[in-house]
Amino acid sequence: MAETQSPPERRVTPVDPSRRTEIDKQRVPMSARPYRLLALVKQDAVVRVQKEPDDTVMTWPHLLAIEFLSAAVLSVFLLLMGLFVNAPLEDLANGNVTPEVAKAPWYFLGLQEMLAYFHPVVAGVMVPTFLLVGAALIPYVDRGDVLAHKPSERKTAVVLFSLFAILGLLVTFIGIFFRGAGYAITLPWVTGLHFSL
């Protein structure tokens, strides 16, 4: 009598019966794999009330392709920048040799520009604190319609935010291009650019 050879089955060895606890007895037996995806089911109610149009697409390939492509383009850009534009490096740091003009990194130049108009406590402490805390509070301050997402439906918020953005851009721009030796106002096409990244 030939023994029928069934293919080896992946099984989870059951808990030793002598050591089964109450919880083990209630456990639903699991297959070798702890979970299985049987099918993709659209979330429908048992009684179909109103069918919403399905506006979703598969992450693979639709989202992943775009993520991959944009990362690839950025990589090529970084590689080209790295190959053809050298990061700045000047002389060894020396606290006794003051440069023509000392500028903060570009994202702080707006604040440095404010320093030219206001007391350091205002420009260096109050303005940045106000900006950060204020930005964090936006969702709690904007009490407008929760469903209004289009800029045209929330003009006040958009105008206020844009005003701050333009103001920030403006002071940064002045700091980068129109400040020369001694942080005095200059024209970049006359005295050259005093700025490094």
């Binding site: 598969m58 790295g82 997402h149």
Partner: protein, 242 residues
Amino acid sequence: MSFLERVDQGIRRSVVFRSLFRQPYPNDERSRAYAVMNNVFLHIHPVRVRQHAVKFAYTFCLGGLSFFLFLVLTVTGVYLMFFYVPSATQAYTDILQIQSSVAFGLLTRNIHRWAAHLMVFFVFLHMMRVFYHGAYKPPREFNWVVGVVLLFLTIMLSFTGYLLPWDQIAYWAITIGTNMAGYAPLFNTPSKFILLGGLEVGQNTLLRFYVLHIVVFPLVAAIFMAVHFWRIRKDGGISGPL
């Protein structure tokens, strides 16, 4: 079957390959769902996403690219760390060495520098995009707050790294930058003293900025990014459509 196809088949059928990728190349909905679910890196995504969220012109991939830049900066930064000592007497010569005699040293330093500036810029742009979409509105209020913290951390990462080459640009930019913040009283000491570890930028400052730059801020930023991404899912995916 061409030679290449036979090699391809051979690889795909091998025990090693099938132990690595349990499913064959995903070609239908079911296997594509598996591919996303079963991969530790991809499962940050849901299996399906809403159509408008996939359009490039909705997010411009700005958040994703900010994260990608963070990864690039981590890899290039670790490589630079092998050749850099945060010492006021050695740091500058180390940078010169990296540029002249370390393999791909100049390229790595350049990419690290440009990626850092670009990340700050992209995070700003990402914030603008989120604002103009009204994507900070409920239920995403708190993720916006997490985002503001990320913006702060990104700027601080860039700022602390700015000092490390220990050249004139670095020295005077950090002098100006810390002068501005120096007026905020912290623990009854001028915060400038805490930042600099002295009265002016020196060895203590370099070591402080170095530790903050390579350990503290990256770690904290990674944690906040994890929360940020987790919450995007929990808040119902990308906002919109407009």
